[in-house]
C-alpha cells in the first residue's frame, strides 16, 4: 500500500543502512558470487542441450563400453550441480552469513 503510505523521510533506518559501506560490501559480495555462478551453470546446461540437438553423432558415440559421450556429459551435469550446491553452501556459511548477521544486528540495535 505504498501509495497511501506517508512518504518516509530520508533518514529512514533502512535507507541509511542501504547507503552504508557495510551494506554495499554485503551486496557486492553476494552478487559477485551468485551472478557469475548462475551464468556459469546456465551456460554449461545450455551447452549440453545444444550438443544434444546439434551434435547427435558426437553425443551418441560410445566411449567406455556402451557409455556414450551424451551420458557422460549428462552425468557431469549432476556432478556440477552437486558441486555448485556444496561450494555455495560452504561459501554462504563462512563468508556471507557473518556479514549478513552483522548488518541484521546493527539494524536491531538501531530500531530499539
Amino acid at each position: 500500500m505504498s501509495k497511501d503510505a506517508p512518504e518516509r523521510v530520508v533518514d529512514d533506518v533502512y535507507v541509511a543502512m542501504q547507503e552504508s559501506d557495510e551494506f554495499a560490501e554485503l551486496r557486492t559480495k553476494f552478487r559477485s558470487f551468485v551472478f557469475p555462478m548462475t551464468a556459469l551453470f546456465l551456460a554449461w546446461y545450455f551447452l549440453y542441450v545444444l550438443l544434444s540437438v546439434w551434435a547427435k553423432d558426437f553425443m551418441g558415440t560410445r566411449v567406455l563400453g556402451n557409455i556414450t559421450w551424451g551420458l557422460i556429459l549428462g552425468l557431469l551435469q549432476f556432478v556440477s550441480t552437486f558441486a555448485i550446491t556444496m561450494i555455495y553452501v560452504r561459501w554462504a556459511d563462512r563468508e556471507f552469513d557473518p556479514r549478513a548477521k552483522a548488518v541484521a544486528e546493527k539494524m536491531g540495535s538501531q530500531n530499539r
Binding site: K56, G74, I84, T85
Partner: protein
C-alpha cells in the same frame, strides 16, 4: 512434451498383479499418514501454523518435503517411462528438472524467505502497489497450481486402470473422488504441517523404494552399467528399431527441445507451491539447507530413474510397456512386478498413489493460501482480516478447490498430461520468474513492470500453448488411430512448437523491462527496506512457539 507423459487413457485390458494387495498397501499408507496428520496438527489456529507449519520445520525436514513435493507422479512414472521408450532423450528431462534447483538455491530461496510471509505475492508486492500486484500474483499462482493439480488428478485416474484393475470409467471417477476427499482432509485438518508430514513420509518411501529397485536391477546386470545399457539398447533395437543410447528419438525439432529445456530450467524457481515451502523453516539459513537437501535427494532419485528406465527397457521390453494400460507411465510398475512380483508392485503402486496425494495436497494448500491471504485479506478486507478469519477462509477455499480439482480431474481423465504440466512450467517461467528476479535485484522495478511481466508472461504462454500442436493438429498416429493432440478432428494451430518457453520467457522479461521504464513510480524507502531485509534477514518472520 507429449511423448514423456502420454495420456493415461485407460485401455480396457488386463491388470498386473493383485489389486487386493495394491489396495491394502495404499490403505495402510492412508491410515498411517492420517494418524500422523491428526497428531501433528493440534495447533492449527494461527495463520503461521496453517500456512507455514509454524515455520518450525528444520532445513533437513523441509528439504525432504520439497523432494516429496517435486517428485510428482510425472517425475517418477513419466521419466522412468520416457527413458524406457526413448532412452537418452528421456534422461534430458531429469537434467533440466535438477539443474533448475540451482536457480532456486542461488537467486531465490533465501531472499524470498527473508522478505515474505506466506505466499509468492508477499514478495512481489513488497515494494510495489499492493492491490494490483497481489491480484496479478494470485491469478498466476492459481493458474499454475490449477494446471499442475489437474495433471496429477488426471494421472490418478489412469494409474488405477493398471494397478487396481478398475477399468470402467465410473470406477475410475470414484477413485478420483476418493483421492480428492482424502487430500482435502489432509489440507483442511492438517494445514501446512500435516501436508508437510505427508510429503516427508512419501519422499522417504519413494526414494527407498526406487533405490531398492535400482540395486535390484543393477544386481541383475552384475553391477555393470555398461552391460545394462548395452542389453537395454539391443533389446530396444530388436523390439522397435530404436537405439536408446542415441539422442533425438523423442525430439525431432531442435528448437522445440531448446524451448522445453528453457521452461524446465527456469520454471522450478517460479512454481508457487515450491516457493511456499521456504516459509516453513525458521531462517534463511535453514531455507538454504532445505534446498541443499532437496538437490541431493532429487538428484539421486533421478539417477535411480535412469537405471530403472533402462532396466524396464531390457527386462520388461518396449512392446509390453506400450501395450500396457497407461503406456509409458507403466514402465516403473511393470518393472517392479517383473522384479519382485505382486508384493513389490503393490508397494510401488502405493507409493505412486501416495505421490499423487501428497503433491495434490501441496498444490491445494498453496492455492488456498493465495486465495485467502492475497485475494480475501488484501482485496476484500483491505488487509484487516484477523488471522482466524484468514485461516477459516483458507479452509473453505481448500474445500472448494478440492471439489474443483475432483471435477476437473474427472473431465481431464485421459487427457494429455503433458499439456497441463508444460503449461504449469511455462507459465511459472514466463510470468513468475521474471517478476521475482526483477523484484529482488532491480532497483528501478515498479508496479507497471510487475503487471506487464506477470500478465504478459501468463497470457503469451497460455495463448501460444492454445494454438500449438499440443492442443490441435498433430497428424493421426497410424497405430492408435488418434491424433496425439488434445482435441481430435480439428486443426487451428499456427504456433509450430509444443512448448512456448523460447518465446514467452524472454517476452516476460522484456515486458517487465518495458513496463518499468515507462513508469516513473519508485518507492525508495520500501526498496531500501526490501533490499536490507532480503540480504540480512533482519525483520524476517521467525518460528512460532508454543
Amino acid at each position: 512434451m507429449s511423448a514423456l507423459f502420454p495420456s493415461l487413457a485407460p485401455a480396457a485390458t488386463t491388470t498386473v498383479g493383485n489389486p487386493t494387495i495394491n489396495i491394502a498397501i495404499f490403505a495402510l499408507f492412508v491410515v498411517v499418514t492420517l494418524a500422523i496428520v491428526i497428531r501433528a496438527s493440534k495447533n492449527n489456529r494461527s495463520a503461521a501454523e496453517y500456512y507455514a507449519g509454524g515455520r518450525a520445520f528444520s532445513g533437513r525436514q523441509n528439504g525432504i518435503a520439497i523432494a516429496g513435493d517435486y517428485l510428482s507422479a510425472a517425475s517418477f512414472l513419466g521419466i522412468a517411462g520416457a527413458i524406457a521408450i526413448n532412452g537418452y532423450d528421456g534422461f534430458l528431462y531429469s537434467i533440466g528438472f535438477l539443474v533448475a534447483w540451482l536457480v532456486a538455491l542461488l537467486l531465490v530461496a533465501e531472499l524470498l524467505r527473508n522478505t515474505g510471509k506466506y505466499t509468492m505475492a508477499d514478495v512481489l508486492s513488497f515494494r510495489l502497489r499492493q492491490r494490483p500486484v497481489r491480484m496479478a500474483a494470485a491469478i498466476s499462482t492459481l493458474v499454475v497450481s490449477f494446471f499442475y493439480l489437474l495433471a496429477q488428478m488426471a494421472g490418478a485416474g489412469g494409474l488405477v486402470a493398471l494397478l487396481l484393475g478398475i477399468t470402467d470409467a465410473w470406477g475410475q471417477r470414484m477413485v478420483i473422488v476418493v483421492v480428492g476427499i482424502i487430500m482435502i482432509f489432509y489440507v483442511i485438518y492438517g494445514g501446512m504441517k500435516g501436508t508437510t508430514w505427508v510429503q516427508i513420509i512419501k519422499a522417504v518411501l519413494l526414494i527407498i523404494g526406487a533405490g531398492l529397485m535400482t540395486l535390484w536391477v543393477l544386481g541383475t546386470f552384475g553391477f555393470n552399467l555398461s552391460t545394462l545399457l548395452g542389453d537395454a539398447s539391443d533389446a530396444s533395437v530388436a523390439a522397435t528399431g530404436k537405439d536408446l543410447l542415441q539422442p533425438g528419438l523423442q525430439y525431432k525439432n531442435p528448437v522445440d527441445f531448446i524451448s522445453l529445456a528453457m521452461a524446465l530450467v527456469l520454471g522450478t524457481a517460479g512454481l508457487p507451491h515450491v516457493l511456499m515451502r521456504f516459509y516453513t523453516v525458521p531462517t534463511s539459513r535453514e531455507a538454504r539447507k532445505s534446498v541443499e537437501w532437496a538437490i541431493w535427494l532429487i538428484g539421486i532419485f533421478y539417477l535411480f530413474t535412469l537405471v530403472l528406465g533402462f532396466g524396464a527397457a531390457e527386462l520388461v521390453g518396449a512392446k509390453a510397456i506400450k501395450a500396457a494400460p497407461g503406456g509409458a507411465n507403466s514402465a516403473a510398475p511393470l518393472l517392479a512386478f517383473e522384479l519382485g512380483g505382486e508384493i513389490l508392485l503393490g508397494i510401488i503402486s502405493a507409493v505412486a498413489f501416495a505421490t499423487i496425494l501428497a503433491v495434490v495436497a501441496g498444490l491445494t494448500i498453496t492455492a488456498s493460501a493465495s486465495l485467502s491471504h492475497d485475494v480475501y485479506n488484501t482485496l476484500v478486507k483491505h488487509g484487516r482480516a484477523t488471522p482466524e478469519e484468514e485461516v477459516k477462509v483458507a479452509r473453505i477455499a481448500a474445500l472448494v478447490l478440492g471439489a474443483i480439482a475432483i471435477v476437473g480431474g474427472i473431465f481431464a481423465m485421459g487427457q494429455n498430461i503433458a499439456f497441463l504440466v508444460a503449461l504449469a512450467f511455462a507459465v511459472a517461467a514466463s510470468a513468475n520468474l521474471p517478476t521475482i528476479l526483477y523484484s529482488l535485484f532491480w532497483k528501478r522495478f515498479n508496479t507497471r513492470g510487475a503487471l506487464f511481466s506477470i500478465y504478459g508472461g501468463l497470457v503469451s504462454a497460455i495463448t501460444l500453448i492454445l494454438f500449438s500442436p499440443v492442443v490441435s493438429g498433430k497428424p493421426v498416429d497410424p497405430v492408435t488411430g488418434k491424433s496425439p493432440s488434445m482435441l481430435q478432428g480439428v486443426d487451428f494451430h499456427w504456433f509450430p512448437l509444443d512448448n512456448p518457453g523460447i518465446i514467452s520467457i524472454p517476452l516476460g522479461f522484456v515486458l517487465g523491462y518495458l513496463g518499468t521504464v515507462t513508469s516513473k513510480e519508485f518507492n525508495a524507502a520500501k526498496y531500501a527496506e526490501m533490499e536490507v531485509r532480503s540480504l540480512s534477514g533482519y525483520g524476517a518472520e521467525g518460528a512460532t512457539h508454543h
